[in-house]
């Protein structure tokens, strides 16, 4: 007699910032709000357009690519943070025109303002049920 093992799932560390598709092999993606009236994108998602005031914005997937607007290298460990120093805190100007705040833990030493950046997703830890908790990060786009 064997015990059925609960399947390990991937879950976001916090809901509402990105989607992890059910289909195996499909990549996660950041979600933004798009205004059907003026075309502006917002991250994170929001209910009302900051540019024109339209209500009920549409949820869309971001392409995941942008340019490094600016960054700082954090050297002081924040109590309770899951990311350990040193790492970069960065603002990415996405191709869609909105901004995403993120951390850079891969190649943070090689950052230059305006360089091409891409999103990626990885496990940060497991929760109490053994599910993988997933976070988004950015890194310089690999050529």
């Amino acid at each position: 007699m064997t015990e059925a093992k609960a399947e390990k799932k991937q879950v976001p560390l916090r809901r509402g910032l990105f989607r992890i598709p059910e289909e195996p092999g499909a990549k996660p993606y950041l979600i933004a709000s798009k205004c059907g009236n003026c075309g502006k994108y917002f991250f994170p998602t929001r209910a009302i357009c900051l540019n024109c005031g339209k209500r009920e914005l549409e949820e869309v997937a971001l392409g995941g690519k942008g340019k490094l607007y600016t960054y700082t290298i954090a050297q002081q460990q924040l109590p309770g943070a899951l990311i350990k120093v040193p790492y970069a805190i960065a603002g990415i100007a996405m191709d869609e025109g909105c901004q995403v705040h993120t951390v850079v833990t891969e190649d943070w030493e090689s950052l230059d303002i305006d360089m091409d950046m891409e999103v990626y997703f990885e496990k940060i830890r497991e929760d109490a049920e053994g599910n993988e908790q997933i976070v988004y990060k950015f890194r310089p786009t690999k050529k």
Binding site: Q75, G80, I83, G97
Partner: protein
């Protein structure tokens, strides 16, 4: 009628007294004692008594509820209106701006404003209860100098500003605070010490961060037409501007949103009927050294991008073109967050009265400006005599 015209139609308002409790390392200070000390010092400076006060605004950030009533109650219990005011690090200047509005409108003649904070040590913003923490907190994205450091990094890239130039703000402000008996930091520091101190968020190092402190401040604000009742030399609140950052699709945003200070500066200058060239003494929000750089250029003392060079070349020194933070600023005084705004105002009052002693700006300064920022907004006030 717009705000500008309405302000011009209001009664002239002035400050007749200012007082402080010294700023200290967080410890076992008493809010009652600190508040009482500052209030009595302001009343004495004005030549006023508590019974002259008709209304009050009390600034505090942590444990706000009931603070004003408690602190004012240390001195008297007269049944007056007392409102608690919170705008993070800009709470105390908000209290003064509220006083200016209610006096200018003719509702009250004499108002007492206070600021007090009792703090704990260490960085603001850690995660102490994971269930309440959001994504940015868990991912270490809300490190306090972060926004200032990010805008500083871009400033370095766009304008060639160096790490040493940012650090020089702290050199100047520690040199100034050594002349200020109420300041927490009484020792000068060298550029090397500051640049080489522990990096918090590059390029901001430990000694380029203002520190949680305990302290209290107070000001007696009154209608110009009743100022003759008091002994303290009146300094007029000539203009003000307050606001929050505007929407921008991309940018550092928050307290250091690009263009935020410039926009409010223009409004304040217009309401006061002065321009940047008139500002003879200035207090800006140097929570972290880049803040002073951004303020100096956005307030119009030099072209955009030149703020760091302006300070590096000594133009913001006590004897310079536009003296900034002559009493040490947040860096040199320490930063009891709810009280800082009135400490800035007190120094401008002393400068315009000519009673700043070893910190006195030469040449009889007549126009001063304070710039105070907190999560949730910014207050700029302009003072004249």
């Amino acid at each position: 009628m717009g705000t500008l015209e309405a302000w011009r139609n209001m009664r002239e308002v002035c400050i007749v007294g200012v007082g402080l409790h010294e700023f200290m390392k967080p410890g076992d200070s008493s809010v009652a004692k600190m508040g009482r000390t500052a209030i009595l010092a302001a009343l004495d400076d004005a030549g006023a008594e508590f019974k002259d006060i008709e209304a009050g605004f009390s600034g505090r950030v942590q444990d706000v509820t009931g603070t004003g009533q408690f602190v004012f109650g240390e001195v008297g219990q007269t049944g007056i209106l007392i409102d608690n005011v919170e705008k993070a690090c800009a709470s105390a200047s908000t209290a003064v701006r509220m006083a200016a509005w209610v006096i200018g409108a003719g509702l009250y003649d004499v108002v007492l404003c206070t600021g007090v904070e009792k703090m704990s040590r260490g960085l603001l913003g850690g995660v102490y209860d994971e269930s309440k923490a959001n994504y940015a907190q868990l991912m270490g994205m809300i490190l306090m100098p972060g926004e200032y450091a990010m805008r500083a990094r871009r400033h370095m890239s766009e304008y060639g500003t160096t790490r040493e130039m940012f650090a020089q703000v702290s050199v100047k402000n520690h040199k100034n605070s050594a002349l200020n008996p109420y300041a927490r930091y009484q020792q000068e520091m060298t550029l090397e010490e500051i640049v080489n101190s522990r990096i918090i968020a590059d390029p901001v190092t430990l000694y380029q961060c203002s520190n949680n402190s305990d302290g209290a401040t107070a000001a007696v604000v009154c209608a110009k037409e009743v100022a003759h009742r008091f002994r303290g030399k009146p300094i007029t609140i000539a203009g003000w501007a307050s606001g929050t950052p505007e929407y921008s699709p991309v940018g550092v945003g928050g307290d250091v949103a690009e263009g935020f200070i410039a926009r409010l500066g223009r409004e304040a200058y217009e309401r006061a009927g002065v321009g940047p060239e008139d500002i003879a003494a200035c207090q800006v929000h140097d929570a972290f050294t880049p803040g002073e750089v951004f303020a100096v250029e956005e307030l119009g003392f030099c072209p955009l991008g030149e703020g760091a060079r302006f300070i590096w070349e000594g133009k913001a020194d006590i004897g310079g073109e536009h003296p900034v933070n002559t009493d040490g600023g947040l860096l040199g005084r320490g930063h009891p967050i709810g009280a800082t705004g009135i400490a800035q105002i007190a120094e401008i009052v002393h400068q315009l009265r000519g009673e700043a002693g070893p910190r006195q700006v030469p040449g009889d300064p007549k126009v001063g400006l304070t710039h105070n920022v907190g999560v949730g907004g910014c207050n700029i006030l302009i003072f004249t005599k």
